[in-house]
């Protein structure tokens, strides 16, 4: 058997979930385009695509984890506390550096600053937090049924 990656049932599930999420993405994009054609704009241009993509990716990840098709049979159960703390610190440093860089860079034309980037970032991080919370609940629930 395959010692790396997912087993055959997990792969089958992953493909099925991927197909349905891809179709969902397609339908949502078509719906968005249709609404735009009728003159209804629910969010500005870059944000609507980002929100739809994030939503579909979130659904994909949550369904993968709920279906037990995210990690393979040989994945080690570890609690990466130190790694998480280091990643958070690195992210904060990177965010600080980017803020300093953009403040110093200066924009010749104020219109170049895209006002939608802040909501996109906010929505993305909120979605990521929701996904993390949901997956945490799912994993806890799955581990409860582990004892046979």
């Amino acid at each position: 058997m395959n010692k790396k990656g997912l087993d055959e049932m997990q792969l089958q599930r992953k493909y099925r979930i991927g197909n349905s999420c891809f179709m969902l993405l397609l339908y949502l994009l078509l719906l968005d385009t249709g609404l735009y054609g009728f003159g209804f704009r629910w969010v500005g241009y870059p944000a609507n695509i980002m929100i739809i993509l994030t939503l579909c990716c979130g659904i994909y990840v949550v369904r993968l984890i709920a279906g037990g098709a995210y990690v393979g049979p040989y994945a080690k159960y570890e609690k990466p506390v130190l790694r998480t703390v280091l990643m958070v610190l690195c992210s904060v440093c990177a965010a600080g550096l980017i803020i300093v860089f953009f403040k110093n860079a200066g924009f010749s034309n104020p219109d170049q600053v895209n006002d939608m980037s802040a909501p996109i970032l906010l929505i993305s991080s909120i979605t990521a937090l929701i996904i993390a919370a949901v997956t945490g609940v799912i994993i806890r629930k799955q581990n409860k049924g582990e004892g046979e």
């Binding site: 055959e8 049932m9 040989y74």
Partner: protein, 69 residues
């Protein structure tokens, strides 16, 4: 697809849990559970691996006829 009770009994006869069988054949416990419950139709390779782990033949565990259904 009905439940595969022969797999369950063969596993019980060898005093193996679903986790033990899963580790022996290199799949997750959920996969073995799905096979036992008839929710998943395994490939021939996986069937052979399970049979080897349980010291049984394909006929013993997976062949369906009028008697074994």
């Amino acid at each position: 697809m009905g439940k595969n009770l022969r797999l369950k009994s063969a596993r019980a006869a060898k005093d193996m849990s679903q986790k033990d069988v899963a580790n022996a054949v290199g799949v997750t416990r959920q996969t073995i559970n799905a096979i036992e419950n008839g929710d998943y139709n395994p490939t021939v390779n996986l069937c052979i691996a399970i049979c080897k782990a349980l010291d049984k033949t394909l006929n013993d565990i997976f062949w369906e006829d009028d008697v074994n259904e």
